[in-house]
Symmetry: C2
Subunit: 360 residues, 2 copies
């Protein structure tokens, strides 16, 4: 199979970790008889440096022409990076919001998995996490408050800022369907999160999710208020399978869930549209403080590449091979510094990539 992959190396540790993911993909291609054609695309700070804007229409067109995009992290250190002197619409993250919208990437999947080998890093007590947990946050990614109308006006000498949160039933329906589809391949439980005791958008959310649920009689649906969900993720993460929610709640809850695992350097993500196309990136940030040192953990990006094989190319066997290779390397005790613990063998970014590729 020919895999046409757009590659956005991104900022900070981005280039280093993406390089390792490509190494692993190349090994997969080798072993399973595929060909990876990579097209390098510029986005974020790297694009600002060259073009003055975080995302050009050329990059959008190239991304659209690919089967899938693999991405490192976008952004820099807000305290020191010159990008953050620019007006907000010119900063690196603006590219992230824009590409989501341009490519219609409405479904953001963020797995939060407690790896048995890494429970030591989990901030929660062992009695809470015994047996591990594996939940999937399904976040709506192109609607709601982050894509609302904004304005800041001055009236009678008083400055007022406005943001707006809008969802229509179609936007809710398509993400809900995706959530239930994924749940069918997992433990068949959906927790839909909203603030339906206050917000109109949440009441519509709940109504549409209930309609969609009728087509999935095997899936158990429960509704949870967002404030309660923020508590339950800490109290008992094992209770969750798929957590289905809107953009802003998903932003907050997915980051909380990833921290609850204790190993953010291990967590992949996928952003999908209505076709097979998807953008795949690690859950963590660009970590400018350790950029260029060769110590960043490439596993989240490597596992994102596995998600890409699974969701955009239907190459389940190949995706499994990557996931198994990661598990093997962990079992053998290899660790990058962020997940290091006593008695294990510390390795750098490149070596970690080599080890995982070696097990494909």
């Amino acid at each position: 199979m020919n895999l046409n992959i757009g590659v956005i190396k991104g900022d900070g540790i981005g280039p280093e970790i993406v390089t390792e993911a490509m190494k692993v993909l190349d090994k997969v291609a080798d072993v399973y008889g595929h060909t990876c054609n990579y097209t390098q695309l510029l986005m974020g700070g790297a694009s600002i440096d060259v073009h003055g804007v975080p995302l050009t229409s050329e990059t959008v067109a190239q991304a659209k022409a690919s089967d899938a995009v693999l991405m490192g992290s976008i952004g820099g250190d807000a305290k020191t990076s010159p990008w953050y002197q620019l007006e907000p619409s010119k900063r690196p993250e603006a590219g992230l919001l824009k590409i989501r919208k341009e490519l219609n990437l409405f479904a953001n999947l963020r797995p939060a998995i407690l790896y048995d080998e890494l429970k030591g890093a989990c901030p929660l007590k062992e009695e809470i996490t015994e047996g591990g947990f594996d939940l999937m946050i399904m976040r709506e990614l192109t609607g709601g408050l982050y894509f609302g109308e904004r304005k800041t006006i001055e009236e009678d000498g008083v400055i007022t800022a406005h943001d707006s949160l809008t969802y229509n039933e179609n936007e809710i329906r398509r993400i809900a369907k995706r959530g239930f589809d994924i749940a069918m391949k997992r433990r068949k439980k959906v927790t839909s999160v909203d603030k339906a005791n206050v917000l109109d958008s949440s009441r519509l959310w709940r109504k549409v999710v209930e309609e969609v649920a009728k087509d999935y009689p095997e899936v158990t649906l429960e509704h949870m208020l967002v404030d309660n969900c923020a508590m339950q993720l800490v109290r008992d993460p094992k209770q969750f399978d798929v957590v289905l929610t809107e953009n802003m709640f998903g932003d907050i809850l997915s980051d909380e869930a990833s921290m609850v695992t204790g190993s953010i350097g291990m967590l992949a993500s996928a952003s999908l549209n209505e076709t097979k196309f998807g953008l795949y990136e690690p859950s963590g940030g660009s970590a400018p403080d350790i950029a260029g040192k060769g110590i960043a953990n490439p596993i989240a990006t490597i596992l994102s590449a596995a998600m890409m094989l699974r969701f955009s190319f239907d190459l389940d066997k190949e995706a499994d091979a990557i996931e198994n290779a990661v598990e093997k390397v962990l079992k053998e005790g290899y660790r990058t510094i962020d997940i290091m613990s006593e008695g294990k063998t510390q390795v750098g970014t490149e070596k970690m990539g080599d080890l995982i590729a070696g097990y494909i």
Copy 2:
């Protein structure tokens, strides 16, 4: 001193826990030579049962005529309670939003404290919480998304729901000042939480907070994005002193923080306006499943009464007396069932109230 206290017993366990707080207040009045005059006010489900609405203008007027209001919890079980068949504006929580607005209670203080005696219940590993933590979420309570315009419309057969998020600089300034004032009496650190990389309201928030900070040169100010804050509360809650944030973020983060302590039955809250007036209530919910069983933990409400003495009546000594009494009772090993652990003595709601009153 004459303390004119409005009392909203509320729903579920509300009446039981408020009764114990009044018992403790009466003891304080006795020992320190004050007089408590209580006026019972109806709100929430209890008001719906009598008046058909969760908050009448009579209750509002009576609350305004009091020096302070002590409240149990509002609401019932959304699955079984007949209140939840009503349209949203008639449900118990509607009373909560309305009273906040009517009394202009813009500053919501939610302490999240890890009690040394109760660390066993904390979901976080001991290495993270060593030495304990004591943070204060300062949540804006009468603006933002929860008080925005809402509408749900159908156009061309598609239903769309809208909520709006608005803040003006004055609303931000007054809560920011409160946050810095509180920080001055604590460890002099303010973490202001927003989503300034996306939202206009957050950018205004950040700008105004920075202006206010200039009047408090002794206080260290840091800005944190809300998604990151949701992570940091789990990773390292000790880093926080005062967390200053808008309404919705504060809703989510304060509940997360309270769960991070592991002892939600211990956490008080205060909602203040520009005068000395305040409404004081436990952070936890109405727990309808255990209502009437005499097992609910009254400590959060008792500590809310202590906050009332401190903030509305400037009776610091009396407030200290309550807080010390609570600590003593905990040290002696008395526990309600929610905070029970091996080797301790389990007591019911009333007995817990007696014990604490006994130490005043």
